[in-house]
């Protein structure tokens, strides 16, 4: 049986913080870190990864609840591992890394630590991390890093997880999820997003409009035209933007007639002098190409 690596000792081999000498020869730390050369770092990473999931988890267990520099070596190693396991031929090591981090996302581990782990999974996570990250979508503090990790790792799986969470989400979590559905252009969320155009929260309405534009469906033309008639000036500007974004997508998909409806709506409703630029943008888009 392979010997378990001394993870703490391996992490400690990372360089100390940079230092400088003052005029009297006294050494001061600068607080900056010049890391090792890659070949030296790779030896450490290999040794940890060869120790399996438990060895990587042991690095995680070295993290302090607050990022105040005491655990800079452990954080540095975890980030270096994330880059290392994404190399070609490192699939087995990547599975070890992802499983170890995913295993540490639950429980009562401090949230700042779990947020840090989610960001490393955003770099190196694969499908194995989706379930664990998905469970955090309704957490007040971890919804955002979880959503960001999910959309980076696997847009399709992220769409499913976000869609499932949406009915139970409120407040900032609802906003994050509505926007996340747009990031991954989750077509199955179209109806839910159209409903969100009527949300009490202005930011949710704006996010829903943007997300629907990202989906690029002609079924949303009517809804976005209506949203573009908002009275609130910021919302009106953003809703017009959603109309233009959707129109561009529709045109690119060969649905020029539907795109033209959006442009005509903006042309016809932006009559105030302050909105002339939008009218002109719509007119340019409607002009026949020569």
């Amino acid at each position: 049986m392979a010997e378990k690596p001394d993870v703490k000792a391996l992490v400690e081999t990372m360089p100390d913080l940079d230092s400088r000498k003052d005029k009297k020869g006294k050494v001061h730390t600068t607080g900056k870190l010049t890391g090792p050369k890659w070949p030296d770092a790779e030896k450490v990473y290999e040794a940890i990864l060869d120790g399996g999931r438990e060895a990587v988890a042991a690095v995680v267990d070295l993290l302090e609840p607050i990022d105040d520099g005491r655990d800079y070596k452990a954080r540095y190693v975890l980030a270096g591992l994330a880059a290392f396991v994404c190399r070609d031929g490192r699939e087995k090591h990547r599975a070890v890394y992802d499983e170890a981090l995913a295993s540490r996302l639950g429980g009562d581990r401090p949230k700042p630590v779990r947020a840090f782990l989610l960001r490393q999974l955003q770099t190196a996570g694969d499908k194995s991390a989706v379930a664990a990250a998905g469970k955090l979508l309704l957490d007040e503090d971890l919804c955002e890093p979880a959503a960001q990790a999910l959309v980076a790792i696997d847009p399709k799986a992220a769409g499913e997880a976000l869609r499932r969470a949406l009915p139970r989400a409120d407040g900032p979590r609802r906003l994050t999820i509505v926007q996340g559905l747009g990031v991954v252009a989750d077509a199955a969320s179209a109806r839910a997003l159209r409903e969100a155009l009527g949300d009490a929260d202005r930011e949710v309405r704006i996010a829903a409009g943007w997300s629907l534009a990202r989906l690029g469906e002609d079924g949303s033309v009517e809804a976005l035209m209506k949203a573009a008639d908002a009275k609130d000036r910021w919302e009106r500007i953003q809703a017009a933007r959603a109309c233009l974004l959707l129109a561009e997508k529709l045109r690119a998909a060969g649905k020029g007639t539907e795109a033209a409806r959006l442009y005509k709506h903006l042309r016809d409703t932006r009559r105030d002098e302050s909105e002339r630029y939008l009218r002109e943008a719509a007119e340019r888009a409607l002009a026949p190409s020569t």
């Binding site: 607080g31 900056k32 005491r70 500007i237």
Partner: protein, 412 residues
């Protein structure tokens, strides 16, 4: 121009309505009196968003450098909590952009806000002068360029080296050769050594969190970037240390050094296809040291950036471009081609609606160089990039850094 011939297509006479929130009325010349008065079509309402170290200088460039008659009607910064009146002083840029009397916005926030505020400003009908670096990541630049085109707005990046570069005949010949498509293969290379402030902007990793200052809206400061505990260096000039807001010395100085060169070598419509870096493994929060980055374009041209502050040089020598690099037939073809057009300044662009030199597309292509360099440093891998699709090829994990998700409600 007669009184009746005056037009106010963009510079408008304001009505003092409650919805306008403006306290200044721009009065047309026909009210003030004729000769010697600036006509209203030449008078602009301006706003400064980001009032830190570079803010005043950026706004003053509108007048000093770009010769625009602009009045600062609004100043906005997330550190104005407690003194914002939402009439002249703001913490929330959205309130500024809602104003109908603002025509031009100068943006001098930290870079993680540059793209979003630029896009929002153009979506609100404003022209934009934006401090460098243009963006924090690649997809932002494309979104800004698209917005400028979509709304018919003028965007200018706040670095001007390409203007000086373009006034030199030898440089104009270099650009002409490089953009002609006649130089095959291209063996030119340019090595930029030093000037990236690498050590200065490599970050400290042992900073303890602290209470958020009472005058700072920390949530709005973080904006699209992750909301993390407040560490004092994250705000103020040392924001440059952090991947969340900038990207070290490459982020800070790259656009200055590289923008004239992308003009010179005709690379302001494309991006490198292969990028390799020599650097230690990157820290997850802060930029660190690096030795060199090599960026090769599809035509063979190569930029090499050397920090001069760590590690060994890249081993490449600069090699310029000469007319003699073309054969006789090529030289004849080149002669028949038009010379590079003079670059249009921001002031002229605003007045005439011509695209300025340093427009969004050109600035984005320059910023791509810095971002690809940082991606190669952060991943520790050689990167291949498709400059048309603007995606990293064959490395989906590295590609996650091309368009990382933003914190809601912020999005491109």
């Amino acid at each position: 121009m007669t009184k009746r011939g005056l037009t106010t297509t963009r510079r408008r006479f304001l009505k003092g309505t409650a919805a306008a929130a403006a306290t200044v009325t721009i009065v047309p010349a026909h009210v003030l009196g004729g000769p010697g008065k600036t006509p209203p079509s030449e008078t602009f309402g301006g706003a400064l968003i980001g009032c830190g170290g570079r803010g005043g200088g950026t706004f003053n460039d509108l007048k000093r450098r770009h010769k625009l008659n602009v009045r600062r009607l609004a100043s906005c910064d997330v550190k104005f909590v407690g003194k914002a009146d939402n009439k002249k002083v703001y913490t929330d840029f959205r309130r500024v952009l809602e104003r109908k009397d603002i025509d031009i916005v100068a943006i001098a926030t930290p870079p993680h806000w540059h793209a979003l505020i630029s896009i929002a400003a153009m979506a609100a009908g404003k022209d934009v002068l934006c401090e460098k670096p243009m963006t924090r990541f690649i997809a932002e630049g494309r979104a800004v360029a698209d917005a400028a085109r979509r709304y018919g707005r003028i965007f200018q990046i706040g670095t001007y080296g390409r203007f000086g570069m373009s006034r030199n005949d030898k440089n104009r010949m270099t650009r002409k050769i490089m953009t002609s498509g006649l130089l095959k293969p291209c063996e030119a290379a340019y090595v930029r050594r030093g000037g990236f402030k690498v050590k200065m902007w490599s970050g400290r990793v042992n900073v303890a969190p602290a209470p958020v200052p009472k005058n700072l809206d920390w949530d709005l400061y973080c904006g699209p970037s992750p909301l993390k505990p407040f560490h004092p260096p994250r705000h103020g000039g040392t924001h440059r240390w952090y991947w969340d807001y900038e990207g070290g010395g490459l982020g800070d100085m790259g656009q200055h050094h590289l923008d004239p060169l992308t003009w010179l070598f005709g690379k302001d419509g494309t991006a490198p296809v292969e990028v390799e870096a020599s650097a230690p493994p990157a820290h997850p929060e802060v930029a660190g040291m690096w030795a060199w980055v090599k960026l090769r374009y599809a035509d063979g041209f190569t930029f090499v950036l050397e920090s001069g502050e760590w590690g060994q040089p890249g081993g490449t020598t600069s090699r310029g471009v000469k007319l003699e690099d073309l054969d006789e037939a090529g030289r004849q073809k080149l002669k028949a081609m038009p010379d590079p057009e003079p670059l249009v300044g921001f002031g002229e662009a605003v007045r005439t609606r011509k695209q300025p030199g340093g427009d969004a597309e050109a600035a984005h292509r320059t910023a791509c160089i810095m971002h690809l360099a940082n991606i190669a440093i952060r991943t520790g891998r050689k990167i291949r990039f498709d400059p048309v699709a603007e995606q990293i090829v064959g490395d989906p994990e590295a590609n996650r850094l091309v368009n990382p998700p933003m914190r809601a409600p912020w999005h491109l």
